[in-house]
């Protein structure tokens, strides 16, 4: 066991990938000498050379598009998109090409490209640097989407994404890059399957399902609720596509109440999908409607007011009160 930050864990995970998989390579803007704007690829170009840690032109469609071509030639590219809001120039390549290549080739071609995207707010940044666009990608068949919330998962999930033969988008919770935790670099242990949710805290009165940057917030909310005598179960979804509905359903069978929280706007979001599925799967267990906590239906607001936008402990507790009131 080693203690490290999420950013360092991803860095170590990428290093392990580059060491273990000679066909893997990294591509992105400023990922070489600078080590990425968040230093996630720090030092890697010196170890593996510019053929495998590729500073690309400033062109997101070109990054994803050339990664697809490299994967058709048998390489396994890991692309870094510098910020969430800048993925959209590459959106066409991801949704019309990357997601569909295996299907439209009748299974003859595989394009195991990994796209890393730092996402989410809470860092006081300027426009386009704080968004959570995961639902736009989750709606696209052919993609897998995972998001780690702690260093151990971050270390293993980036490697598991590269090993996966499907295209995988890894949403990295940028405001948690400096969150420290223990990493077992010898074995993933319970994190062997990146598409499975984890129950982080057991409870009996309500379930809070979250992912990525809101995991510590949900855990803190559960702690606060416990002081008020409410036993809250917390689930880290880890995977947004597919979603591990079995774990959520089992939890709701036990607690009867479900709150889903994410930074992304609630309308058309992951929370709505979970609410619909759980109402079908666990209708008779539900004591209250599934309640969503999330961003508002507006462009991500300016940094000085983002605290009013982002779900926090109190917003989750308020939702919990509503659920418990039924």
């Amino acid at each position: 066991m080693t203690t490290m930050t999420i950013a360092k864990a991803i860095n170590e995970g990428l290093r392990a990938t580059l060491n273990n998989n000679p066909r893997s390579l990294l591509m992105g803007e400023d990922i070489g000498a600078l080590g990425g704007v968040y230093r996630v690829t720090d030092g890697l170009v010196g170890e593996f050379g510019a053929d495998r840690v590729v500073d690309t032109p400033l062109a997101e469609s070109g990054i994803i598009g050339t990664a697809i071509g490299l994967s058709l030639r048998g390489y396994q590219p890991v692309c870094e998109i510098q910020f969430d809001g800048f993925v959209f120039p590459g959106f066409n390549q991801i949704t019309t090409q990357l997601a569909k290549m295996h299907s439209r080739s009748n299974g003859n071609l595989t394009v195991p490209v990994v796209v890393r995207i730092p996402y989410g707010g809470g860092i006081g940044s300027i426009e386009h640097h704080s968004e959570s666009p995961e639902a736009l990608f989750a709606h696209t068949a052919g993609l897998r989407i995972i998001t780690p919330s702690n260093p151990h998962d971050a270390y293993w999930m980036i490697q598991q994404a590269v090993d996966c033969q499907d295209p995988v988008i890894v949403f990295e919770p940028k405001r948690r890059y400096w969150l420290k935790g223990e990493v077992d670099t010898d074995s993933p242990g319970a994190s062997a399957d990146p598409f499975k949710a984890h129950v982080l805290r057991e409870g009996t009165d309500a379930t809070v399902a979250v992912y990525g940057p809101l995991v510590p917030v949900a855990l803190a909310a559960a702690e606060a609720a416990a002081e008020d005598g409410h036993s809250v179960e917390v689930i880290d979804l880890r995977s947004i596509s597919p979603i591990d509905f079995d774990t959520i359903t089992a939890s709701v069978h036990k607690t009867g109440r479900l709150i889903v929280a994410h930074e992304a706007p609630t309308f058309g979001g992951i929370g709505g999908e979970i609410a619909a599925r759980i109402s079908e799967r666990a209708f008779h267990s539900l004591e209250a409607p599934v309640i969503r906590v999330g961003g508002f239906h507006m462009p991500y607001p300016v940094a000085k007011v983002e605290e009013d936008y982002l779900p926090d402990i109190d917003r989750i507790l308020e939702a919990l009160d509503r659920a418990l009131a039924y």
């Binding site: 170009v45 010196g46 062109a59 469609s61 050339t66 030639r73 048998g74 295996h102 003859n108």
Partner: protein
Amino acid sequence: MGATHLPSTEFDGTGIDDQLEAEAEARLGAPAEPMVQLLGPDGSLGSDPVFSKYAEKLDPDTLRGFYADMAKIRRFDVEATALQRQGQLALWVPLTGQEAAQIGSGRASQPQDYIFPTYREHGVALTRNVDLAELLRQFRGVSNGGWNPKDTNFHLYTLVLAAQTPHAVGYAMGIQRDQKLAAANAAASAESGQAAEPKAAVMVYFGDGASSEGDVHESMVFASSYRAPVVFFCQNNHWAISVPSSVQTRIPLANRAKGYGFPGIRVDGNDVIAVHAVTEWALEQAREGHGPVLIEAFTYRVGAHTTADDPTKYRGSDEEGLWRAKDPLERLEKYLRAEGLADDSFFEQVRADGDDLAAYVRKTTHDLETPDIRTAFANTYVEAHPLVAEELAWFESYSAGFADEDPKDPGSQAETAETDRAAR
């Protein structure tokens, strides 16, 4: 750490290469003519300081083969159009007029090269030995890609304009890495006596309309930066559905290459000999590590954009007449006859072969089987996916409810009853 200790990039220098533009011109050997043409519309063979030597290598069999391929693909085009008119295909994308651009370039490629077409490259498909009946699967609505690209190194058609251009550059970047690895391995085991893999390049097709897409620009930037072994083959057929090429560009498209720092050549796209020569040169340049080349094949889409289009609404028949006079097949026929390289019996045989192909394509199209939607469930992901599995299970259960309506599928009624009981 000082800047001198920073790792240098592998493919470019350390800064802007002031000489790149001059080099690109120098590699062409002579100031480029406005348009390279070897075989004129009257069937006479001209000369070019750079490209004539490629034409001189062509033996009579090859020249007759050029004609046979162009005639074959034109006959195929007629047949596919007819199949669409008869309701056997949902849509057809005719290529008539562009035979020389496609056969000339396709036949300049080698088996180890990888080709990314757009969606009109039926002639290139022929040169890559793609079964033309397979090509119709997409237009019949039974597949989104009727052939396995790994068999022929001819990629699937891409319908999102220019989206295939960065794929081509990425593939070329892969070839670069493979060749570097192979060279390192060869150096490590010099005595093993293993034959080296032939050098490969990538060629990507797009049109004058697609040239406006951002992906073409990004691709050319990447290709230039990494000196990727890729040939950009632009068929300027003058019309993007109803919009003339003057809306896409005010200068010859080939001139754009200069801005990226690699050679650009405009070639008479209705001259199969010149197209072949220019493409052979460009692919050699790419394979030998000199980086990308842009070829603009100046040609004309004689027919409609697709069978859903009506060119009489946006262009005059006089323009079509001008281009029919530059027909790629007629000029090669004139040349072959004048040089005594082919006679009536040859052209008769070509016609007969075309009719055989048409009959084969017609029969095969009628026989194409409709796929089961279960294959779409199976091919959405490579690895097992719980949502797909869940939806497939529902679909199976739902379909089983109709089993008594299908005399070919007896015995599913009991299953349905069981599912219903389980549901209660």
